[in-house]
Subunit: 199 residues, 2 copies
Amino acid sequence: MTTPIRIAETGPRRLRGFIAAMTRLVEEAGEDEARILEQGRHLLADLVAVDDWLPEAYAQPHPVHYRQYLLHCDPLERFSLVSFVWGPGQRTPIHDHTVWGLIGVLRGAEEAELFTPDGLPHPAGRERLEAGMVDAVSPRIGDIHRVSNAYDDRVSISIHVYGANIGAVSRHVFDAASGAPKGFVSGYANDSLPNCWQG
Amino acid sequence: MTTPIRIAETGPRRLRGFIAAMTRLVEEAGEDEARILEQGRHLLADLVAVDDWLPEAYAQPHPVHYRQYLLHCDPLERFSLVSFVWGPGQRTPIHDHTVWGLIGVLRGAEEAELFTPDGLPHPAGRERLEAGMVDAVSPRIGDIHRVSNAYDDRVSISIHVYGANIGAVSRHVFDAASGAPKGFVSGYANDSLPNCWQG
Ligand SMILES: [Fe+3]
Ligand SMILES: [Fe+3]
Ligand SMILES: [Mg+2]
């Protein structure tokens, strides 16, 4: 039996509390992905429970496409924390992750369409995540999806945690018509990270 | 006998290599300060050996006083990495650290005047550090100094590593005439950290 880890910090220090707690979790859990997803889900739920900590610079949409801002990378690249900012109606291509991921909605809502390892529509279909909700992906439990802002008229923001420095991972996008995969490395939109370590 | 740890990365990725290696060192060394200072000295020497990795935003002097930019804080606050930027002729007050520290000069040169725990001039006197050199402080080996840009006509930059989130540590400045201590918390000049995690 495990005691869910909780974030002790509140307000602007919530991010710092998440980073510390998630670091302890990956140190303790090692390769135990099921434990990371189970306990990490609680941590991410705490992080997105209140929308009072994300600096404005990491909440800016792009007029044409969704944006992916790195908020923190574990120094040993065991996990990364990313802010996804969806302009009205924006969506990702069909893509995989190759590592575990946790998805928490901070603002607005998002819709995910699920696909099989062949890049074809998955029988499980479609999921909608509202603000405060958390979902998980991984090659073990289902890794391929296309994610959209659930709104056509406003910005949505989701906060993701991945089991690697996700912006540097070689993974795939899939052609929507044929399911054909193509390699991609996402990178990040930002050259600066939030400094959440002020006294 | 210990094998000195070296940074494998070069160029703009040098910072990332330092952060990873220093993280491994504090994880392995725990409370063994002597080991951290000995091996950390090699890591910091590698980091300041070539001046090709510090982003411009963290190299900007202030017209009136020296500046302290956080470059990285260990998620568990076991160490922090700071860029000190000295305008021409600028210097710190007499101050302590309360934790171990490593000081490496990246650009220019700095002079340190040493003081006793009473805030009085130390018989060991004065040290000058040129670019590429590394020095150490700690309550165990001598913790109180006043540091100056060795140049009156140009910027110097030194890169410091401390055994805590130094900007949040309660420590002391000492009156130059009387040696009387006064509490201070330094904070940091910057709200953003360099993102050294791009693919
Ligand atoms: Fe995804
Ligand atoms: Fe100092
Ligand atoms: Mg010395």
